[in-house]
């Protein structure tokens, strides 16, 4: 008896006991829910399992990177939705970063007026729900004039209620090769940067990293483009009848979602950039000046590396938020992952599988972005002894 009491008083035994209780409790609740779900599903005559993914979807999707028709499978429909989500998120991340950095720096400007402008922008977009902003952008897009009276934003770029029309290069096989050359050029630039850093660290001599890296990115694709004889002509959108012909277009839904996501997230990124720059004490700039560095060097070698350390972690979560927020597309009819999944679930009744798949995909995207940014964060992190 006393042994049992002794055992019960030991922290380890009690730890095991609590965990066993907790896990079995969770399992019991989980089992109860699953069994209820199975009973309910069988009562409604809904099939279970992922077999439905191979069946014909039977619904059209407004825009798609792949060729997709209503006769394709649910699986393909979901892949199309996922690609749409990724496209709009990727473009919006780039736009939001640029806009956010500009606004964040503007808010710190020594010019009082510029600072006020930036502050008003930030306080407005951050304090109004994203969904409202999206609905507003979408309504504006839908009530733009028809293609006949389209607004010409810049020459040959038209904004109408059919979306945004812009010129593209006339198609040619050389484009693919030029794109390949661009990728190789980027790889080359990374190698140049690495070599340059190593060279500087071992010899202490400066190395023209920036010009060489730029040349590596720009020259090969241009050379291939010209060398392959690709025509330097544009396919310009022209008004024909009631709509445009030629050029490329993005739909009003995509445009509204892109603008809404970029503007909203830029407000948050601006605050992150501002706090990152403020986090570097002014003494650092003064010390740089005392060492005789030029302002550009001070910014690049002293301020930015320290500011990035503060900026990157919250920036990661903003990128994640943006990707997750792109799911609001469902409210304005852009066929993203959520909206396609939702249609599939409604048609097949296999809600559990559909929602589980959707959540799993978002989780994987989140983990990938988080993993990449953690890797980057480790690279810029302070190395302490």
């Amino acid at each position: 008896m006393s042994k049992l009491v002794q055992a019960l008083n030991s922290a380890r035994v009690r730890g095991w006991l609590y965990q066993a209780l907790f896990v079995s409790g969770t399992l019991a609740v989980g089992w109860y829910l699953v069994s209820n779900t199975l009973t309910n599903l069988s009562k409604r005559g809904v099939a279970t399992g992922f077999g439905f993914l191979n069946r014909e979807a039977g619904f059209e999707i407004g825009e798609s990177l792949l060729t997709y028709a209503a006769s394709d499978t649910y699986l393909k429909a979901m892949v199309v939705g996922l690609l749409n989500t990724l496209t709009v998120s990727a473009v919006a991340i780039v736009l939001a970063s640029i806009l956010g950095i500009v606004i964040g720096v503007a808010r710190l400007s020594s010019n009082w007026m510029v600072g006020r402008f930036a502050a008003v922008f930030v306080e407005t977009v951050r304090n109004v729900p994203l969904l409202l902003q999206l609905v507003v952008w979408y309504t504006i897009m839908n009530r733009l004039p028809s293609p006949r009276e389209a607004l010409e934003v810049v020459p040959h770029v038209f904004l109408s209620n059919r979306g945004l029309k812009f010129p593209t290069f006339v198609e040619h096989a050389g484009h693919g090769w030029a794109f390949l050359a661009l990728i190789l050029g980027i790889v080359g630039a990374v190698l140049v940067v690495r070599y340059g850093r190593k060279h500087r660290e071992t010899t202490g001599k400066p190395f023209p990293t920036l010009p060489l890296a730029l040349a590596s990115v720009v020259l090969p694709p241009v050379a291939v483009f010209v060398g392959s004889g690709a025509p330097f002509a544009f396919d310009v959108p022209v008004l024909a009848g009631f709509n445009f012909e030629g050029g490329a277009a993005v739909t009003p839904e995509f445009t509204a979602l892109l603008i809404g996501l970029s503007v909203y997230t830029a407000g948050f990124i601006a605050e992150i950039v501002r706090s990152g720059i403020l986090a570097v004490p002014h003494g650092q700039t003064e010390a740089g000046l005392a060492l005789g560095l030029s302002p550009a060097h001070i910014l690049r070698l002293i301020i930015l590396p320290q500011a990035l350390r503060v900026i990157v972690p919250p920036l990661t979560s903003q990128y994640l938020n943006l990707t997750k927020n792109s799911s609001l597309a469902v409210a304005i009819g852009y066929p993203d992952l959520v909206s396609v999944t939702n249609t599939s679930a409604n048609q097949t009744g296999q809600v559990v599988e559909a929602v589980a798949m959707m959540m799993a995909v978002y989780l994987i995207i989140s983990l990938c972005i988080a993993g990449f940014m953690n890797w980057y964060n480790r690279k810029v992190a302070l190395v302490t002894r």
Binding site: M113, V114, V128, A279, A331, V355
Partner: protein, 382 residues
């Protein structure tokens, strides 16, 4: 804060140096003695370099071109109390759509003659929010008062007692839905988040991994998918014959989602407690729960009040997503108001109005949270 203070008052200047030395040193604040004179101030802050002069002129040009048309649209040419035909004829904003539709925007499809009830409920709620903002009132009775107010709100909205007619909650809509969903979600999520945060910090691996799994799952997926799950999967989870209405399902989804984010805020507070506090509690041979409730949580929760307010703001904004699962919140009500064929052209006015509503709530709360943060750090500054 330097960015709020009128820049040409020396008192504000001094205060701003005290408040945030790092910011004061980077942003160029109104320089020295000349700061007292507007002319010198302008010279120092608007025209001190060539670039700044150009930027200032550019800003002035934008203002010159943007402000007069905006003022004309908003005020000068606006129709305040006209019919829709007068609005169509006018060049300015048509505020009479707000006058005509304000009951719909605020209270949705709630029975027209009973709309004083949601109005009273919202007024009670806002008053309570104001009272909770005062630090002198942060006493245990405040929690009791909140409980009372929430019960009163429920009675007012539902009715069925004290001679109030019963209004089923699929008739509810507008501002009360937005307010109630956000405040109930955050209140219910708070205790759950404390348990999750403690679980995540626990030394017991099974409990820790389950909590981490839940938190990361919820933070990794969009709220829309959680709301979908709540609205379509919860009914399947329940045994036969038990139903749970749409509002409660959305609330449950919102609560679970908010709890995961709040748990991370609470964890931040737990991690900020010096290790000595834990060790001192252990040395006094306090049990785990004694240690947690008497030593750790009182200190940790004080630290996480500003992040909790921020979470409340984002919860308030996120509530607008319930429109996707078919609930009638402020934003849905505003959208419905714009679909009336008679008033269809005047969507901008309605969205400006709805946006302003959200903005007023969120902006005042975020200002409040900034103030709280400053108050909290008041004694930590050297």
């Amino acid at each position: 804060m330097s960015k709020d203070s009128t820049p040409h008052s020396t008192a504000a200047l001094a205060a701003s140096f005290e408040e945030e030395p790092s910011q004061a040193s980077v942003t160029s604040l109104p320089g020295g003695v000349t700061a007292l004179k507007p002319f010198g101030w302008a010279k120092n802050n608007l025209f001190n370099t060539k670039l700044n002069t150009v930027l200032t002129l550019l800003c002035c040009a934008i203002l010159w071109f943007a402000v007069p048309p905006m003022v004309n649209w908003l005020v000068v040419n606006a129709v305040w109390l006209g019919t829709s035909d007068e609005c169509r004829a006018a060049a300015g904003a048509c505020w009479s759509i707000i006058v005509v539709k304000h009951r719909l925007i605020f209270f949705g499809t709630y029975p027209f003659d009973e709309q004083w009830r949601p109005f009273l409920a919202c007024a009670l709620f806002v008053a309570m929010l104001g009272v909770s903002g005062v630090r002198a009132f942060w006493r245990p009775w405040l929690a009791g008062a909140w409980a009372l107010v929430l019960v009163a709100m429920g009675v007012l909205m539902w009715g069925g007692v004290f001679g109030l007619t019963h209004v089923p909650n699929d008739k509810w809509g507008g501002l009360p839905i937005t307010l109630m969903l956000s405040v109930f979600a955050i209140t219910l999520a708070f205790p759950l988040s404390i348990l999750l945060a403690l679980g995540r910090q626990s030394s017991l691996p099974a409990i820790r991994s389950l909590c981490v799994g839940f938190i990361e799952l919820m933070r990794g997926v969009p709220l829309v998918s959680v709301l979908f799950m709540a609205s379509v999967m919860f009914p399947l989870f329940l045994p036969e014959g038990v139903t749970i209405d749409k509002l409660l399902r959305a609330l449950a989804g919102l609560t679970l989602f908010t709890a995961a984010y709040l748990a991370e805020a609470v964890r931040g507070g737990l991690q900020a407690i010096p290790k000595g506090q834990y060790e001192a509690a252990d040395a006094l041979s306090l049990s785990y729960w004694q240690k947690t409730t008497l030593i750790i949580l009182p200190q940790a929760l004080r630290m996480v009040i500003p992040p909790i307010v921020n979470q409340f703001i984002s919860c308030f904004k996120d509530t607008s997503l319930v429109t996707i699962v078919g609930l009638y919140d402020l934003l849905t009500a505003a959208t419905v108001a714009t679909t009336d064929p008679e008033w269809r052209p005047f969507f901008a006015e309605v969205y400006v109005f709805a946006g302003l509503m959200f903005w007023i709530f969120c902006f005042s709360m975020s200002r409040y949270s900034q103030w709280l943060e400053r108050m909290a750090n008041r004694y930590n500054r050297r």
